[in-house]
Point group: C2
Amino acid sequence: MNRVRRSESDPVGSESSGPLRLLRETHEERVLSLLRARGPLTRAQLTEQTNLSRATLSSIIQTLLTKQALVEVREAAGGVARGRGRPVSVVSLNPVGGLALGIDLGQRRIQVTISNVAHEFVATGAVACVDRTPWTRRLRLALDLVDDLTTRHDLSLTALAGVGVGIVGPVSTEGSSAAGRSADRIALVRDTLRARFGVPVHVDNNTRLAALAEAVWGAGAGVDSALYLRLSYGVGGGIVLGGRLLAGAGGAAGELGHISVDRDGPACPCGGRGCLERYVSLTTLQEQCENVLDTRDDRARDLLADAGARVGEVLAAACNTVNPEVVVIGGELAETGDHLFKPLQAAFRRHTHSQVHRSVRITCAALGPDAAARGGIALVLTSSPASPNVLSAPDLEASHP
Amino acid sequence: MNRVRRSESDPVGSESSGPLRLLRETHEERVLSLLRARGPLTRAQLTEQTNLSRATLSSIIQTLLTKQALVEVREAAGGVARGRGRPVSVVSLNPVGGLALGIDLGQRRIQVTISNVAHEFVATGAVACVDRTPWTRRLRLALDLVDDLTTRHDLSLTALAGVGVGIVGPVSTEGSSAAGRSADRIALVRDTLRARFGVPVHVDNNTRLAALAEAVWGAGAGVDSALYLRLSYGVGGGIVLGGRLLAGAGGAAGELGHISVDRDGPACPCGGRGCLERYVSLTTLQEQCENVLDTRDDRARDLLADAGARVGEVLAAACNTVNPEVVVIGGELAETGDHLFKPLQAAFRRHTHSQVHRSVRITCAALGPDAAARGGIALVLTSSPASPNVLSAPDLEASHP
């Protein structure tokens, strides 16, 4: 288990010889995978996150810059690297290295967003649809939108790295334990897009993808653990740990909308009882007050305060369980600001362990309606071609048979 | 980003030459770290979990067997490898490679357990203490117990890999955000044991360590995600994902005893209100019925049924959040069997998303009172000398300066 540190006087083969090249490529892949997953990073961030020495990293970056796999740009303060004062230099994948496609097949809206591997968003667009639009039709709308965006922005999908798709409803990791129609829907989406683009297609629940996007580019950027809750016509959520979505054994991790707030409450189609969603979804609230999002209305403010308190209680239970660094709240209700957040924070504080509420920051989502499509892109960039762990060392099969 | 697969006709340096040796040692370290963390594995399990080819792995195992770093033993069916029918052969670290020491500084009991790096438990012992025993005294008792066990079992601690210690109360990952006295206590434990043994000392909450031990050797062995709940004089828990304890931003992940079951319930010293622990701890239940663990008693059975229902509701909230593969329930209450588990399962089912309750298995803890001490050992074996990820490739600093 000794770590061998070669001295400079050791005879080493030329860099183009086999074994050293393999090991060097292991390190290059580590740098490339990290930049792919995290976006532009400073050299200091790369040193810390690759666990390579500055000298090794510097040599690798130089090679990759020469090969035009990477580019180095000087950023103004406050940019991606969050530096203060003087501009810092960041390294990123070369934007021409490929594109990633994110699609959100939402209940009422189809969104398509395209980024390059350098985490630059190059095109986005949406079309509305009605609740019961068949899935083949939704896919057709999405594909038309892709064609429209690539034409308008003069993009070629020949170097497409992958497609990430958000759909409504629970999705298991294997896409198999989701019951009947849901599994069929996942297969349809996956097969159609794989046939069209010939690249890996990743499918997950669209609220969970919004959670991932917030953790990579939004209100949870830079933290190790984030819990996301979306308060809209439905109530859902997602958990991101170490840059990856927690799937859960049945693909249902983060289903905070189905935590019970009343043990004797009404049955929910999910199989539970007294679920949060039944009390605080926009659908329910609008039944009680059509203008519930209009905070000049007394009745609306009362309803939002009640909803905030319920949400705070559920978040307390969820945070006593996973104790994340940040809770990100999205959806239309989050846009009502303090009318929701003040009672929410009070209930949260009232029902959490002090160790938990001292360490958790609750904040509003930072991304817009393309969050789930962006999450599809994050899924592509973190999953493909493989995770950094899987890529950490190439196989030596032929070297010692 | 190409993966290079060397053909056999490629000129390769001798195995003792620098770069190939480095890469080979990377693979050896991967195998050694995995066996250290997981214990004995079959060759098939090693192939799957190291992501190396069978040929590469076979060559590496042969070298490590020759160096006596590993041993290979034929196991009867039903052993560690959980094979059925004919005996299978498993590979493990050589038991003479070193020892790991686990200490549980519990509220009423000090437990010391010693294992070797092959996951064989070689000695265990406990002494009782009273609630308010000072921490210096607890450490003295633990150290005396270590001396006693090493003498009786003729063990030498010269090749000690590390010490893992469980203490009561929350522990942040850095051991710093736990307030005042708790931080002092952690420093005392760490400094005393480091001075005595001269090896890394890992400290965590003892209920969380029991969770880790159940996930490695107990009712959660072989699953990727386990949630543990301990129902005793206190109520606590822990979450193990991918073989590692989830710490949480404030070191309080898994604090299920402080999830509220009554929003208007009494204030709890934790800062919350209506906490589960106030309703189902053995302390509380014994105030209502001294023989609450005697299931021949009508009153005891009623109390256990109520407690089971409360616990089931909290587990529903926790499982809707993380959706683990298995829930493991330990502590004295778990030993009352169906009197607790039937109402617990009913309430759990009633309050979970169907996707969650279909995928979660609820089971009784499998380990005895040394679970937390064993968890200390697991912490040593999974954290030290470094995680497999950190070890995944040696640094090439000197090779391309």
